[in-house]
Symmetry: C2
Subunit: 133 residues, 2 copies
DNA sequence: TGATTATCTGAACAGATGTTCATATATTTA
DNA sequence: TAAATATATGAACATCTGTTCAGATAATCA
């Protein structure tokens, strides 16, 4: 079926064109609260940096300490510490102290799930999206 | 069990300390190819911007055109177009032309899965991570 | 064809981001 | 307590990013 234009009139310069108000309303009704949306974006953003992602991937198979991670990735321990703090604040990783050493591990199973699904997406092993009826 | 330090000797300034070579080796063995890791990070990074995430969330329930999305989010159509191009390049969205109008939809089911899992993570409904035996 | 609508594109700029360096804190050991 | 180890923190800076603006391209209609 062809989509129907809700409004299509001559408009002033810089006017906001609203073609399908029903779709905009539908989007609004399924909208997340602003703060939750921003937290969601922050979570993805944290996983969107190659070095942070490398940290998370490394922890997939077991806990590691700061200087192990620094050696593995090839940046300073300070940089690793900075990033681990952000990952910890977002509850993506969690530290466990053993003497002077802090061993970091993934906080919950979601983190691995997210990485697994995203890898699947990259490799093209995914079904086309079907919007709800 | 207590973790054993592989090496713990006095080191020169700026020397790389390697405490647990076995863990570093384990991480290396499970490492993604460099290009794949970067593509993975790019995917998350795209989802890590509030406005792009809002675009994806809006498309969750059905396709929308550029100016609908611009009105919904509250940025210019140009900005939406720029972002949609990036999302399209990453195969997160896909356009369908109907006359002059381009309707965008989510490309595959992974996108919704990623958002759903991440929301679950935020809301704390997740099991602790258990590394493989 | 020329006018209109819808979307795209490139350049430019303000603001965000990740790293390093120097230093501080915490824990263990002598 | 003093020294050594492991990690954390704040400031500074170069780089990256998202937006807007102006103009280009694509499709429809008179």
């Amino acid at each position: 079926m062809a989509a129907q234009a809700t409004r299509s009139l001559p408009l002033e310069t810089n006017a906001v064109r609203i073609l399908h108000t029903d779709r905009i309303d539908r989007a609004r009704s399924g909208e997340l609260p602003k703060s939750e949306l921003h937290h969601l974006a922050d979570t993805f953003k944290l996983m969107g940096d190659p070095n942070r992602l490398k940290l998370l991937m490394a922890l997939k198979d077991g806990e590691m300490c700061v200087c192990d991670l620094a050696a593995f990735i090839g940046i300073t321990e300070s940089a690793v510490s900075h990033q681990l703090r952000r990952l910890k604040d977002a509850r993506l990783v969690r530290p466990r102290r053993e003497g002077q050493i802090l061993f970091y591990q993934l906080d919950d199973a979601c983190v691995v799930e997210l990485m697994t699904i995203a890898v699947g997406h990259l490799r093209g092993a995914a079904q086309p999206h079907e919007p709800p009826a």
